[in-house]
């Protein structure tokens, strides 16, 4: 085979491969196709809810299993002025607001939060990126907090509004938020964590309060929680998909 013919054939193969890749990408990224694929997410959530006991605990480890180096991901040092002011004052002025579809809206400072029924657990944090790390988390159980606020019957989800802006270019929609349903909200291991490995939560890991929702991936565990809003539906909030990463294509049900 001559060199020019070989070059030509190679060019043809490359062009063919490129055309195939771009055709695949058009299909792969098509909103209708992706909506269809996400039917699997509803199937997975439904199957998990039917097959697994809703109160099944995620595995708890001994203290010796705690990871020496627990990666901090997402926002690790929020620049938002309101947060910086609170952090500068050692979070003395911090108030966790619980409102929305509740009978008695709450505004809790850290002392009030620490006085609530608490739990301490050594669990594994599984990131959607693939890594995992183990730590001891201590915090107020979410269920008694909700009891105190009194959820209205129409409340179906809890939305966690956070202090940090993870995508500054998106403006107000760049602010981190997450949502969970009541099955996870009332789970015994679901915590408003204020301590990690026996010390107050560091800024990198979400000070002063972050969510622990074991049995779901890391991005559900919202850090820097500012406000918990009980809602019937989250489609009016930010991108409408129930969370910062959900608005960017990730599954709302992060149990897989």
């Amino acid at each position: 085979m001559t060199a020019s013919r070989r070059t030509w054939l190679r060019g043809l193969a490359a062009a063919g491969a490129a055309a195939l890749v771009s055709a695949c990408d058009r299909i792969a990224g098509d909103p209708a196709v992706r909506a269809g694929l996400r039917g699997a997410e509803r199937l997975n959530l439904g199957l998990h809810r039917v097959l697994f006991d809703r109160r099944t605990l995620a595995r708890e480890y001994s203290d010796s299993a705690i990871s020496p180096d627990f990666r901090a991901n997402g926002s690790i040092d929020p620049a938002d002025p309101a947060y910086r002011a609170l952090a500068a004052g050692g979070f003395a002025d911090y108030r966790l607001v619980v409102d929305g579809l509740v009978e008695r809206p709450l505004s809790l400072d850290l002392a009030a939060l620490r006085a609530l029924p608490s739990r301490s657990q050594v669990t594994r944090h599984d990131c959607v990126e693939g890594w995992s790390a183990i730590a001891r988390w201590t915090g107020a159980r979410l269920a008694p907090v909700l009891d105190q606020a009194g959820l209205k019957p129409e409340a179906r989800f809890l939305v966690f509004h956070c202090f940090d802006t993870l995508d500054p270019e998106a403006g107000e929609d760049g602010r981190y938020y997450e949502s969970i349903d009541l099955v996870d909200a009332l789970h015994p291991q679901t915590l408003l964590a204020y301590e990690m490995n026996g010390a107050p939560l560091s800024v990198a890991h979400g000070a002063p309060v972050r969510l622990r929702v074991e049995r779901q991936l890391g991005y559900k565990h919202a850090k820097y929680i500012r406000r918990i809003e009980a809602v019937a539906d989250y489609s009016h909030i930010s991108g409408g998909k129930g969370g910062f990463w959900e608005d960017r294509g990730y599954e709302w049900y992060a149990g897989i």
Partner: protein
């Protein structure tokens, strides 16, 4: 920038394929090249959509295949090696036939074929499903054995990846053998149901 693969103490330059690839001037840090990933652009979210939907196809497909194969006796008849095939002389003959690429035309699957198919169907694919499930925090909470049999979530992740490599190897070898043995006639047999061997 360059891509490399380190196995044990040895390092291999894999620039353009693993670790660093893309068109000239637009190469980027990515594990696998665009032609090998779905989607071609970097999107973990879209990749997960495809992966978690396709997992249903694998799970349901394999279950249906195994039920039908066990119930009809086909798995035992055509995939489990016969006693005669396992006689030392027969094993050596089969190995020699493969090494020289001179395989018999007629008859059912030969010994190496049976072992390869059987291990993929009853070992590798089920292990892919269980190790995949082990990575789900919800499944792991309800069924911790899925992770324990691999020695933890990260080991299950490695097993999942190595299993995928084995499957790629299997499909590659399968297609290679097919090309050596009258591929068009076999394709016709597969699609039209014609007998593979004719007088």
């Amino acid at each position: 920038m360059q891509g490399y693969l380190r196995i044990g103490g040895r390092e291999f330059d894999t620039t353009g394929v693993l670790g660093w690839s893309g068109p000239p001037g637009a190469a980027e840090k990515r594990a696998f090249p665009a032609w090998a990933t779905l989607p071609g652009y970097r999107s973990l979210a879209t990749g997960r959509n495809w992966h978690l939907a396709a997992a249903w196809g694998l799970g349901l497909g394999l279950t249906a295949y195994l039920i039908a194969g066990l119930a009809g006796g086909r798995l035992r008849r055509s995939l489990v090696p016969t006693r005669a095939m396992l006689a030392p002389r027969a094993v050596l003959a089969d190995l020699a036939a493969h090494l020289t690429l001179r395989l018999p035309e007629a008859g059912g699957y030969n010994l190496l074929q049976r072992l390869a198919y059987l291990s993929v169907v009853v070992l590798v694919l089920p292990a892919m499903i269980v190790s995949g499930l082990a990575m789900s925090p919800a499944v792991h909470a309800a069924a911790p054995w899925t992770g324990d049999i691999f020695g933890g979530r990260q080991s299950a992740r490695s097993a999942h990846f190595l299993g995928a490599c084995l499957l790629v190897l299997f499909i590659g070898a399968h297609l290679f053998m097919l090309l050596l043995h009258k591929p068009l006639r076999r394709l016709r047999g597969m699609t039209l149901g014609e007998r593979e061997t004719r007088p």
